[in-house]
């Protein structure tokens, strides 16, 4: 089992969600987040004063998938979220030790 975390532009959330559903991934967790990578924020002006806003609004999607679904999920996210401009986001993949369904104590991949 793998956990895939993707940080995205908020405007791409719906497209990524649909692409993941199409790829057969049914469960996901969405977090509203703030952050920056190399893009380093932007500036705003209020009454002539310049403010640097370095933490930008982002969304983070967390999904846990079987190993076989890894590439399919990654391609779905990239396909829906890429604009080719700086600030598109990042994907992180890590191994998950256990998954447990609280309702009936199912364990492992059947719990996904």
């Amino acid at each position: 089992m793998l956990k895939i975390e993707a940080v995205l532009q908020p405007s791409k959330l719906d497209a990524v969600k649909d692409a993941l559903l199409d790829a057969g991934i049914e469960g996901m967790t969405i977090l509203e987040a703030r952050g920056h990578g190399r893009q380093k924020g932007h500036t705003e002006f209020y009454r002539g004063r310049e403010y640097t806003v370095d933490l930008l609004p982002k969304v983070k999607i967390e999904i846990v998938v079987t190993d076989e679904l890894k590439e399919k999920a990654i391609q779905a996210i990239i396909g829906a979220a890429r604009t080719g401009r700086i600030g598109d986001g990042k994907i992180f993949v890590s191994r998950v030790e256990e998954a447990i369904r609280i309702r009936n104590d199912e364990r492992g991949e059947t719990a996904l």
Binding site: F45, Y46, R47, G48
Partner: protein
């Protein structure tokens, strides 16, 4: 059944009486001509009847004018209150960080309560009682003698209580304007005491000098007749300059200017500024103290100046920073409204456009360049907009005022208005305006410094650093403006 009949009778009585009285009036006004009327000398009875009918007509027309004026003045009073709450409360509330929104709004709202009580007890008397050239007397303490008949010293066609409540709304907004300079860092208790005292010791004397009977700067027979139609000196210079003094005395907010302190809700500020614009019609056009043509003139000038100033600020900002911001546009409109205030009942519409345009550019310069150069933390630009805009407006009033709009200095024997401002060739009016500006600056600086010193010693002005970083909402009021989990 009996009720229905009596109701019907009542209805007939109501419908029947006016025509009857009218018939009587006409019959007494036009005595039935007798065959020999053309030759017969007019009898005493006929003269008496004629006089009676003239008196009746005069009373009727005076009553009608009084009713019209009173209606407009009551609406205007409500409009001026609308400027403080919600107008100013929203405008300022949106500009602070979200942890201070309630604290900021409460400062304006507190003035609606506190100043009202002070005004009824003694404030009105100190502003509009007879007194001397600098402050009113105590004859109207507890509103003694302020009834439903007009006070001909001020407004001959409306009840004095209407005049009193209208002027109260000005007394409320003026200290509320100052709160923009010390936003996010003053104790609620200190703010309440400081601004209450300020209202009595700075506002009331200044209002008396400019508008009060025998006031030093009164355009109508004062020592130095200075023109201030709706409060450029009385409201905007006093509040703006006191704001500057207060923010310097109090010091900067913790972290200013290194920490970002952007407005938390431009939407609230936007709504607030638009409400200010609308309320300002009551502020300026209401200052005609009647519903006649002068009110129209002030109304149009108000609107024109706001529009031109929004444009002026926006263009200046577009050139200076590369983008026309919403905050710039609304700040410009407010600056224009401030600058036209003293001039609104004295100038032609195109002069109002010029005043607005100049004010928009000038105030944006004060806010963009001067504030950061001099490094004071006038948090919401109460000085940059009201102090600077008010001073500019008072000067430009001396330049553009014309007797063609308002014969402020009376008329000559031929019935022509005496020269009013420099436009009429009365250049020395500029000096009178400067005197008014100087006096307003002086009383504001001295009065504010003394009051701040006293309140600081007795109560302490600033919240503690911990309270400041927690925000005024929590530390002063024990609540939060936005609880999104509730």
């Amino acid at each position: 059944m009996f009720r229905r009949v009596s109701l019907l009778l009542l209805l007939f009585a109501c419908l029947g009486i006016p025509p009857l009285t009218l018939a009587q009036a006409t019959s007494s006004a036009r005595p039935v001509p007798s065959p020999s009327a053309a030759q017969a000398p007019v009898t005493q009875a006929q003269i008496a009847a004629l006089e009676q009918s003239v008196r009746t007509a005069q009373t009727a027309s005076a009553t009608a004018q009084s009713a019209a004026d009173n209606a407009w003045m009551l609406v205007s009073a409500a409009l001026v209150l609308l400027m403080t709450g919600p107008g100013l409360a929203l405008f300022y509330g949106g500009l602070v960080r979200k942890k201070n929104i309630l604290g900021t709004m409460m400062q304006s709202f507190a003035m609606m309560g506190l100043v009202t009580i002070l005004w009824a007890v003694v404030g009105y008397s100190l502003a509009f009682g007879h007194g001397n050239a600098f402050i009113g007397g105590f004859e109207h303490v507890f509103l003694r003698g302020v009834g439903l008949t007009p006070n001909t010293d001020y407004a001959a066609t409306i009840p004095e209580q209407t005049y009193m409540i209208y002027q109260l709304m000005f007394a409320i907004i003026t200290p509320a304007l100052i709160t923009g300079a010390f936003a996010e860092r003053m104790k609620f208790s200190a703010m309440a005491v400081f601004l209450s005292l300020w209202s009595l010791l700075v506002y009331s004397p200044m209002a008396h000098m400019v508008w009060g009977v025998g006031g030093f700067l009164n355009a109508n027979g004062g020592h130095v007749p200075s023109l201030d139609f709706a409060g450029g000196t009385v409201v905007h210079i006093t509040s703006g300059v006191s704001a500057l003094v207060t923010c310097i005395y109090l010091g900067k907010r913790i972290g200013y200017p290194h920490i970002n302190m952007p407005p938390h809700s431009m939407v609230l500020s936007f709504i607030g500024a638009c409400l200010l614009w609308v309320g300002w019609f009551g502020f300026n056009a209401g200052s005609a103290l009647g519903s006649g043509p002068l009110a129209t003139s002030a109304f149009i000038n108000t609107h024109f100046a706001a529009a031109a100033a929004a444009l002026g600020w926006t263009i200046a900002e577009w050139i200076h920073n590369g983008k026309p911001t919403a905050l710039g546009a609304i700040s410009g409109a407010v600056a224009g409204l401030v600058a036209i205030t003293p001039a609104s009942g004295f100038v032609q519409p195109f002069a109002a456009l010029a005043i607005g345009l100049i004010a928009g550019v000038f105030c944006s310069f004060m806010v963009f360049a001067v504030k950061s150069r001099l490094r004071y933390d006038d948090s919401l630009d109460a000085f940059g907009v009201h102090g600077a805009g008010g001073t500019l407006g008072a000067l430009l009033t001396g330049l553009f005022a014309t007797g063609a709009i308002n014969a402020a200095f009376g008329k000559n024997a031929a019935g022509a208005a005496l020269p009013t401002g420099a436009m009429d060739g009365h250049w020395s009016q500029i000096l009178n305006q400067l005197a008014g500006i100087g006096l307003a600056w002086g009383i504001s600086i001295v009065g504010t410094l003394v009051l701040l010193f006293v309140v600081d010693k007795v109560i302490g002005l600033r919240v503690s650093p911990e309270e400041e970083s927690a925000g005024l909402d929590l530390s002063q009021h024990g609540e939060e403006g936005y609880d999104l989990n509730a």
